[in-house]
């Protein structure tokens, strides 16, 4: 998709609701939305864009675009977990209020080629990066399976949306409170060992993505990962989100990513 100039607006909150446990869902009105590739993100600031005057917390938060609705009144949806002060304030936003929005930013996932089968593996909030990917892959005729892992059932997000969209979802929790007991990467290992998927997409905590990359490599299947390094700007100038590369040097998650071929990343150097 051609790179559009990202929107920079105070977006009106259309809906704000709890999404289970510490999870929240925001629907934002985004007039002039240029569309997005799955895996792209927005920078969100609690309160209006006058982030500079409202100085604490100072930095906007990078958030995956969960899904979008076009038409005359375009909206995007963000699914996130209450984690610190910034996300706590975003979780308090009420309909009619505004949040600072900058995006879409970064480079998203490349869709699979015709004839491929895809497996998507997400850990915790990583699910927010792959809902749209799953939908578009399926719309393009690529068979898709989604593997979702979390510590416990309260940490799961988006399960109902996948069911409603009839996207096949397999769940694993570390404590066994929902789905299989174990790690989502165990599901991936089994899935790939059985053969079939020719492409892996992964988003979640670094150890999970690193493990997914190892499993994919062992089966000689390409693996795309979406990294989540902290960043201040989102457009390539603060250099805060640098990810170490296997070939040496760094890539910027905001500008060169957040989606990378897993083989490009020097995993041992990622926190």
């Amino acid at each position: 998709m051609a790179e559009a100039v990202p929107l920079r607006i105070d977006a009106e909150v259309v809906a704000a609701e709890p999404a289970g446990g510490e999870n929240h869902r925001l629907r934002l009105a985004v007039p002039g939305w240029p569309g997005f590739s799955p895996g792209q993100f927005v920078m969100l600031s609690p309160g209006a864009r006058a982030a500079v005057e409202r100085s604490d917390p100072l930095l906007p938060r990078p958030m995956a675009i969960y899904r979008a609705r076009g038409g005359e009144r375009p909206e995007i949806e963000i699914l996130f977990k209450r984690h610190g002060r910034g996300t706590a304030l975003l979780a308090q936003a009420r309909p009619g209020e505004r949040v600072g929005l900058f995006g879409p930013l970064g480079r998203g996932f490349a869709l699979a080629a015709p004839g491929e089968r895809a497996v998507l593996v997400a850990g915790g909030t990583g699910i927010a990066s792959v809902f749209e990917l799953a939908s578009r892959l399926r719309a393009a005729g690529t068979p898709v399976r989604v593997l979702l892992g979390a510590r416990s059932r309260g940490d799961l997000m988006g399960e109902d949306d996948f069911a409603r969209a009839s996207l096949p979802l397999v769940v694993a929790t570390e404590d066994g409170s929902r789905g299989e007991r174990g790690l989502v990467t165990d599901l991936l290992e089994r899935e790939l060992a059985r053969g079939g998927p020719s492409r892996v997409y992964a988003c979640g905590p670094t150890p999970m993505m690193r493990r997914a990359a190892e499993i994919a490599r062992a089966q000689r299947v390409p693996c795309a990962v979406s990294l989540e390094n902290p960043m201040a700007c989102g457009f390539g100038v603060c250099l805060g989100c640098a990810a170490p590369l296997a070939a040496g040097g760094f890539a910027l998650v905001c500008r060169d990513g957040p989606v990378f071929d897993a083989e490009r990343i020097a995993w041992a150097g990622l926190p």
């Binding site: 500079v52 906007p60 805060g240």
Partner: protein, 315 residues
């Protein structure tokens, strides 16, 4: 005097002279927060601001620190990027020609040895598109066991002297706030022929991840920037401006025109917007326009008449 009669913002003369660098208005953007300028073109007409200070350059290209490189603190952020840059030659060859002719560019330079600083200054100072140099002195001196140049008055004097010898271009020295007597450092630079001073650089800081019992930054220490450091910066600009006659460029947590005016009142001739560029890439343009609006509202026909107009009851 002031407040006598309001003017229209369009009637205000916003031009300033920063040590031989002619600026259409007193707002620059700070090195390391503005890339090489082009990154901001989708969001800001660079001709709305006085100019920008490009990311600090070394003779050779340089990779930065491993992640995590940034952390958040109340009304502030810490960074330990470690001056990742494309190097002097690539800047001159690729970055400068990509900019519109009428954009004022100040080149920031840093090195780890005095001879290399002088060499970088010589190369950059001879480039016509470079309006002036900013010497980043907050960098460890390899030969002195890693002491920051800007923290030792003798080392700082030696550095400014050698760089001054290497170039006749307008020379600003960017001062570290991590010193006991900022006025002394300011006088040292003036004595060695600096044309102006930029202050303050980021404040050395540490943030801790208490769950992991580790520093948040891989580098352990980082530089604190953002609104939290503004009152410290104002204090240092005020002290330095009373110690020297050369112009000062005030830096530290500026996010709006009122913030910038505070620096002018404390004795700064110009200002640099830094961390706020990350949060809103168009902010520097609004700061520039807001300063003229303030001057007009308070009856100052020239922005430069605001410089040093802080009124105190003590001498």
């Amino acid at each position: 005097m002031s407040d006598a009669r309001a003017l229209a913002p369009g009637d205000v003369d916003s031009r300033v002279d920063l040590g031989g660098i002619a600026l259409r208005n007193p707002v620059l953007t700070a090195s390391g927060t503005f890339g090489y300028g082009r990154e901001f073109e989708p969001f800001l007409d660079l001709r709305r601001i006085g100019g920008f200070v490009a990311k600090s350059l070394t003779l050779e290209p340089r990779h930065g620190n491993p992640p995590p490189r940034i952390a958040e603190a109340p009304s502030a952020m810490l960074n330990a990027i470690s001056l990742e840059n494309v190097g002097v030659d690539a800047f001159v060859r690729d970055k400068l020609p990509a900019l519109p002719e009428d954009v004022t560019v100040v080149a920031s330079l840093f090195e780890t040895e005095i001879e290399r600083y002088a060499e970088a200054a010589k190369r950059l100072g001879g480039v016509p598109r470079v309006a002036g140099l900013e010497l980043n002195a907050s960098c460890p001196h390899v030969k002195s066991g890693g002491i920051e140049f800007g923290q030792d008055p003798r080392l700082l004097a030696q550095l400014v002297r050698e760089v001054r010898r290497a170039t006749s271009a307008p020379l600003l020295v960017k001062l570290s706030p991590n010193v006991t007597h900022i006025a002394e450092m300011a006088r040292v630079c003036e004595g060695e022929g600096a044309d102006g001073l930029s202050l303050i650089n980021a404040v050395q800081a540490l943030e801790v991840d208490v769950e992991r019992r580790r520093p948040v930054l891989a580098n352990v220490l980082g530089g604190l920037s953002g609104p939290a450091i503004r009152p410290i910066a104002l204090r240092m600009v005020w002290q330095a401006s009373r110690a020297v006659g050369i112009p000062i460029c005030g830096i530290g947590g500026i996010g709006c025109a009122e913030d910038a005016v505070k620096f002018l009142l404390c004795g700064a001739t110009a200002v640099q917007v830094g961390t706020a560029n990350y949060l809103d890439p168009g902010v520097a343009g609004r700061v520039a326009e807001g300063i003229s609006a303030y001057a007009a509202r308070h009856g100052f026909a020239r922005v430069r008449d605001l410089v040093g107009r802080l009124e105190t009851d003590r001498g």
